[in-house]
Symmetry: C2
């Protein structure tokens, strides 16, 4: 559990990376690691690592380093991966289907319980064991099943139309793959954006600049 409520977002964004590296170490049967060694591996400084982990109460023993399995479990539990957030996906086209199939929901703290798409030709088909149905059913579905997270794999304008409804239906977190930038006036709702086009344009810039040099 966090020592204080206001852990900075940049620390939080590093936690999944710790989690990933510690998982790799476990696979290699490394059971104990010093902050210095972990720092080297992750291309951070040892003091950075100690600072990050101190935000949540430490976990290391002076001179003994970290117990890899224990630290990984602690970070996982901080990240809430045991929380099974009930999740719906809006948009089950190519992208939605890939996200639903590819991402390991259960291991990351989510449970997919609903899937919605405007395309009637895919209604009744299943994605990750969940039957795709019309968005007309979202309101009813949310009332009955209280999902807390929505994954948006729909175009910008469709997203713009649906976001405030979803918040009204009780959605607290958005995993947003749409180009629509959700500007929230609600303090009790969070958005995690995956702007693929932005990422690709950044790559374009960086590759272009390489070529110039």
């Amino acid at each position: 559990m966090p020592k204080n409520d206001k852990v900075s977002i940049s620390v939080i964004r590093r936690l999944p990376r710790y989690y990933r590296y510690l998982g790799e170490l476990l696979q290699k049967e490394v059971n104990r690691i010093s902050s210095r060694e972990l720092a080297q591996l992750m291309n951070l400084t040892a003091s950075q690592i100690r600072q990050d982990l101190n935000c949540f109460g430490g976990f290391g023993q002076q001179g003994y380093g970290y117990n890899v399995a224990m630290l990984r479990d602690e970070i996982g539990s901080i990240l809430g991966i045991n929380n099974n957030h009930k999740t719906i996906i809006i948009g089950v086209g190519n992208l939605g289907k890939a996200v639903a199939t590819y991402v390991n929901f259960e291991k990351l703290g989510f449970e997919l319980i609903g899937a919605f798409d405007i395309d009637p030709s895919i209604h009744g088909t299943a994605v990750r064991g969940v039957t795709v149905t019309t968005p007309d059913n979202i309101k009813d579905f949310c009332e009955k099943n209280s999902p807390s997270v929505a994954i948006l794999c729909i175009p910008r304008l469709a997203a713009k139309e649906i976001v405030s409804d979803l918040i009204e239906y009780g959605i607290k977190g958005f995993w947003n793959f749409s180009q629509y930038e959700i500007r929230l006036e609600h303090e009790d709702v969070v958005v995690e954006n995956v702007h693929l086009a932005d990422s690709m344009m950044t790559l374009s810039y960086r590759v272009s600049t390489l070529k110039q040099s």
Copy 2:
């Protein structure tokens, strides 16, 4: 063109967002905008915007604001979206197919010219007009066609195995969807990561913390 070669990565990462917002303004037929108005829209400060754009030589006229179309074109050209980087995709499973189909390559400065997958059952099928073939052909293909960018939609271990070969074959930029963290010793190669699991774990944390409060 950049005024200096060392524009910080955080400025660069903001450029696609400017590009997106300016595109939206154009669609609404807004032709001119002050840094103050743009700042309000994007939830930045006006001085931040002026600073960002000054890295590339300005573009605004004191007291007149920015010409939206011109500024968008300039940013697009800085981002290299007219450069048509020759691109190959490695891994055409669910995720690779979604990335290839969903992302608007041509508009973002890329041209998909090759697609590779180890699964023989999809060899000969097409993705975005490109025929999927075996990874055994990558070396030959690169020698003949000189792609500069590779999109990795393969598992961690597969990525680990192939990255250094790809660099040897002339790949300069990676769009990395694999869980593998590419640690580059090559200064003339760039990596843009899309770690979907990290993003989802961050969301899990943020939704979990909401619930506690």
